[in-house]
Symmetry: C2
Subunit: 174 residues, 2 copies
DNA sequence: ATCCGCATGTAACAGGTTACATGATTCA
DNA sequence: TGAATCATGTAACCTGTTACATGCGGAT
């Protein structure tokens, strides 16, 4: 369901696009919120076309198909946003790791956390660059709040990793 | 894979336990990091037993089976924690929603965000109660860092929802 | 006796990943 | 002409959810 919603949202934001375009849009804009590969996107678009949520303006040089969202598609997106209670169920490898870290020797755990912190630090820098650049973009608002959320989440992970490493090292008096 | 690791971790932390015990432990301790139902846990334990990661001390009143982690199981857990690069791939309905919110009228989006903020506020209160209580618990450390991470993440979501709602309302001068 | 909680399982389906497979167009 | 990129698809497999199914043991 969520994949379908993400596609409807992207089509709303970008106007008509092909499966290929949407796959790249996924990576560049929404990947921080949702992941999908082309092998999942293409069949889904076909299903959505069959159900009347999008239409195909079959054209394009290679086999390229361009999809446009329909009224019904727009309605489905709206209903989902307004009426569906979001699933808050978590499944995060990072958090799982955090939970299990105390099963390792403190200095090993701390080293792993520092490495994590560095990864997140780099990711944070990237996102902040995007934020700085985006003021020039076409869509003035679309994705801005989501980007802000992403930045905060990455910063949180970096800080937590760093502080937890310090805490672990501190408590052993290494 | 991650489910298996979570189970090995819980067995390490709690000592021998049944599938039923682990299902409840999952809910009470680790659900913030990973979700699993008994229908997934029971078959996985059977597979793990077949592969020698856990042993069954078949006993117990009803069909109860008690599982114990083996040396090989402990090795597998350790290797995963140390060597496996954690998947950072995100899939969050909350973030997806955040991304798509600008497709709605500002006042509708703001109202949805306020409702979200309230949910997270309640969740935050719950987690903070747990943290306050946990100082009395048996395991001095296990899960403390993960709980801290969970609290920060929920707080972030509450604050972001609140602030984004204010921002949206502010920019329309309603 | 009856109900609740303990305790384990399976089957059907939905959602996702990896790998395989193919071919057209553009550019150097 | 060869490489990179555009462009779409399918098949096998793994993970996870929902629902169904069964039965024991303890407490009232």
């Amino acid at each position: 369901m969520s994949l379908r919603i993400a596609l409807l949202g992207l089509l709303t934001a970008s106007g008509p696009a092909s499966g290929y375009d949407l796959t790249k849009l996924f990576e560049s804009s929404i990947s921080n919120a949702w992941h999908a590969r082309h092998s999942q996107i293409y069949p889904e678009l076909n299903k959505m076309a069959a159900e009347g949520l999008v239409t195909v303006d079959e054209e394009g040089p290679r086999g390229r198909k361009t999809y446009t969202i329909t009224e019904e598609g727009a309605r489905e997106l709206r209903t989902w946003l307004i009426e569906k209670e979001p699933s808050r169920s978590q499944r995060s490898e990072v958090a799982l790791r955090a939970f299990l870290l105390p099963t390792l020797e403190p200095h090993v755990a701390a080293a792993l956390l520092r490495a994590e912190a560095e990864v997140y630090g780099r990711r944070l820098a990237m996102l902040e660059t995007i934020r700085a650049t985006k003021s020039l973009a076409k869509q003035p608002d679309f994705g801005r709040h989501a980007l802000e959320l992403g930045i905060r989440q990455v910063r949180l992970l970096r800080d937590w990793s760093e502080e937890t490493a310090a805490d672990i090292e501190g408590s052993t008096g290494s």
